[in-house]
C-alpha cells in the first residue's frame, strides 16, 4: 500500500514538474530558432536538431527600426508601475483592512462585511468592463499614457487583494495587543504603526507578493491606456504578435518577463518553509 502510494506520489510529482517545466523548455529551445527551424518541422535540441541563433534574444534589445523590440524601458516601466501601485495599495489596503478588522461600521444596512465585500468584489470586474470608462476617466484627468495613470488604475486592481489578505491577517492578531498599546498611551495611529504593523510582517509580505504578481501580469489596462510615452512589458511583448509571428523572440521575451518573479517564488517558498506564512495565508 504505502509503496504504491510512494510510487504514485513521485510519479505524479515528476509528471507535474515536467508539465510545469515543459513550456519553459520549449520556450528556451524556440528562443534560439529562426523562421526555418520553426516552420519546416518540429525541432527540439539546438545544434542537434537545428542551428541555433541568438537573433531571438538580440531582438529584445534591438531598435524596432532593425526589426527589434526594445524592451529595456518597458521593463523598468513595468517594475516601476507594479511596485508603486503595490506599495500604495498595500498602504491604503492595510489601513482599511485594519479598520474593518478592528472597528464596527454601520451605515444603513451596510456593515463591515459589506464594506469588505465591496473591496474584494472589485476583482470580479473583468478588465474589459472598465477599460473604456478608465480611458475616458484618465483622459479627463490628463493621465492617459502616463505611468501615474497606470498606477491609479492598478490600485483598483491590487487594493482588493491587499484588503482581502490583511483583513484575514488582522483578524488573527489578538485585539488585546492594540488595546494594550492604547492603554499604554498610544493613540490609535501610534498603536497601529508602533505595535500592529511590526507584528504584521508576514501578512504584508503575502499581500505584497500577490500585489506584485497581479500587477506584473496585467496586460489589458496597460494595453488600452498607453500610447507612445509609456509602454509596459507585456504590451511590448504582445506587440511582437505580427502576422508573421517571431516565435523565437516571443519565447525569449517570455523568459525574460518571468525572471523577476521567479525571485518572488523563492522568497515565498523560503517563508513557507520557515512557517511564517502559514498564518498569513489561511
Amino acid at each position: 500500500m504505502s509503496k504504491l502510494y510512494t510510487f504514485l506520489k513521485y510519479f505524479f510529482i515528476t509528471f507535474w514538474t515536467v508539465f510545469v517545466v515543459a513550456p519553459f523548455l520549449w520556450a528556451v529551445s524556440t528562443s534560439f530558432k529562426d523562421f526555418q527551424s520553426v516552420n519546416s518541422k518540429v525541432t527540439y535540441i539546438p545544434w542537434l536538431d537545428f542551428e541555433p541563433t541568438l537573433e531571438g534574444w538580440r531582438v529584445l534589445i534591438k531598435s524596432p527600426a532593425k526589426g527589434g523590440v526594445d524592451i529595456v524601458e518597458p521593463y523598468f516601466n513595468s517594475i516601476f508601475v507594479t511596485c508603486t501601485a503595490s506599495l500604495i495599495s498595500i498602504v491604503l489596503g492595510t489601513l482599511a483592512a485594519y479598520a474593518l478588522s478592528r472597528f464596527t461600521f454601520k451605515a444603513g444596512f451596510v456593515r463591515n462585511n459589506d464594506i469588505t465585500f465591496f473591496f474584494i468584489s472589485q476583482r470580479i470586474m473583468p478588465p474589459i468592463v472598465l477599460s473604456i470608462p478608465f480611458f475616458i476617466f484618465l483622459s479627463t484627468i490628463g493621465l492617459l499614457d502616463s505611468l501615474l495613470g497606470l498606477v491609479v488604475v492598478y490600485i483598483v486592481l491590487l487594493m482588493p487583494i491587499a484588503v482581502w489578505i490583511m483583513v484575514d491577517f488582522f483578524n488573527r492578531v489578538p485585539k488585546e495587543l492594540d488595546e494594550t498599546a492604547l492603554i499604554d498611551g498610544c493613540n490609535p495611529y501610534q498603536a497601529f504603526y508602533k505595535v500592529v504593523l511590526p507584528n504584521s510582517i508576514p501578512g504584508l509580505i503575502v499581500a505584497g507578493m500577490f500585489c506584485i504578481i497581479f500587477g506584473w501580469i496585467d496586460f489589458f489596462f496597460a494595453f488600452i491606456l498607453t500610447f507612445t510615452e509609456v509602454q509596459l512589458l507585456p504590451v511590448k511583448v504582445v506587440a511582437l504578435n505580427s502576422s508573421i509571428t517571431p516565435w523565437w523572440s516571443l519565447s525569449a521575451s517570455a523568459l525574460v518577463s518571468v525572471a523577476p518573479l521567479i525571485i518572488v517564488a523563492f522568497i515565498v517558498e523560503r517563508y513557507l518553509s520557515k512557517g511564517n506564512l502559514s498564518g498569513a495565508l489561511k
Binding site: I13, P23, W26, L182, T245, L272, L277
Partner: protein
C-alpha cells in the same frame, strides 16, 4: 473599541477606490443606455433597447456565459484537486521538497498573455512538440486548437497550468498550519491514508478550501487572455467566454453601448452567482 479615528483608517482606501471607480461605473451604466458605436459615437439615450436586445436576441452572449461557467468551474475544480494533491505531496518530508515547491509556484508568476503564446506554439497541431511527441508514440495528431471540443480542454489545460500554483500555495499554507493531533489520532485509529484524507485532512481544510475556491472562481470568471491568444474564441465560437465576447463587441466591433450593457448585466449576474456559490460551498463543506 470604537473611535472616531476609525474613519481615518478606512476612508483613504475606500475613497480612493470609490473615487477611481465611481466614474467608470456610472459611465458604464449610462453607456449601456446609449447606442454608442463606431458610426454614432455619441451618448444618445435609447432607453433599455440594448437590454431588450440582450435578453431577447443574443443567444451568443448566453452561450458564452454558459461556456464560461463550464470553463471556470471545470478549471477551478481541476486546480483545486491538483493543487490539493500537490500540496499534500510536498507538505511532509520529501526529497527536494523546496525545489518542487518553487517549481510548482512558478507558472503563477508568468504573464498569461505572454505564456499563452508559448502554449500556442506548444500545441500547434503540425509544428508543435505535443503532437510531434505523440506522433512518436504512434498517436494521431490531436486537434488541440481546432476541434471545438478539444479546444475547450486545451484552454482548460493552459488555465490549469497557470493557476494551479495559486491554489497550491493557499492550500499548502493551510496544510502547514494544521494541528498534528488529528492526524496522530487517525493513525492510532488505524485509518488508511485514504480515510485519513477523507475524514481528517479534508474537513480540516474545508474553510481554507472555500476561500481559495471562491477567490479562484472570481479570477477564473475573467478568463480572457488565454482564450484571446490561444484560440481567439474559436473554432467557431467554441471557446468564446463572456469577457471575450464583451471584448469583441466593445473593442472589435465597437458597439460600445451594447458592450456596456453586456458588462453591466455580466457584473450583476457574477456578483449574484458568486454570492450564491459562496453560500452553497460553505453549506456543503462546513455543514454548519
Amino acid at each position: 473599541m470604537n473611535f472616531k479615528h476609525k474613519f481615518v483608517f478606512l476612508f483613504p482606501g475606500l475613497f480612493v477606490l470609490i473615487g477611481i471607480l465611481i466614474f467608470p461605473i456610472i459611465f458604464t451604466i449610462r453607456l449601456s443606455l446609449s447606442g454608442w458605436n463606431s458610426y454614432t459615437p455619441e451618448m444618445n439615450f435609447i432607453g433599455i433597447t440594448n437590454y431588450i436586445r440582450l435578453f431577447t436576441d443574443d443567444p451568443r452572449f448566453w452561450e458564452s456565459f454558459f461556456r464560461l461557467s463550464f470553463l471556470s468551474v471545470t478549471t477551478v475544480i481541476l486546480q483545486y484537486v491538483i493543487g490539493f494533491a500537490l500540496a499534500m505531496m510536498v507538505w511532509r518530508e520529501i526529497k527536494f521538497k523546496r525545489f518542487f515547491r518553487v517549481i510548482f509556484l512558478v507558472p503563477m508568476m508568468t504573464t498569461p498573455v505572454i505564456m499563452t503564446v508559448i502554449w500556442r506554439t506548444f500545441f500547434h497541431e503540425s509544428l508543435g512538440p505535443v503532437n510531434d511527441l505523440l506522433g512518436g508514440l504512434g498517436v494521431k495528431p490531436i486537434l488541440w486548437l481546432s476541434d471545438p471540443v478539444i479546444a475547450k480542454f486545451t484552454v482548460i489545460i493552459v488555465e490549469v497550468w497557470q493557476w494551479t500554483p495559486f491554489m497550491f500555495l493557499l492550500l499548502l499554507a493551510g496544510l502547514l498550519s494544521l494541528p498534528k493531533e488529528p492526524f496522530l489520532a487517525a493513525a492510532i485509529d488505524g485509518a488508511s491514508p485514504f480515510r485519513k484524507f477523507v475524514y481528517v485532512t479534508f474537513p480540516l481544510m474545508a474553510p481554507i478550501s472555500i476561500g481559495a475556491i471562491i477567490i479562484r472562481l472570481i479570477e477564473a470568471s475573467k478568463i480572457m487572455d488565454t482564450v484571446f491568444v490561444l484560440t481567439s474564441g474559436g473554432p467557431g465560437t467554441a471557446t468564446e467566454t463572456s469577457s471575450f465576447y464583451i471584448y469583441i463587441k466593445g473593442l472589435r466591433e465597437f458597439q460600445m453601448g451594447y458592450a456596456a450593457t453586456l458588462s453591466f448585466t455580466y457584473l450583476v449576474i457574477m456578483i449574484i452567482s458568486l454570492t450564491i456559490i459562496a453560500k452553497v460551498l460553505t453549506k456543503l463543506m462546513i455543514k454548519e
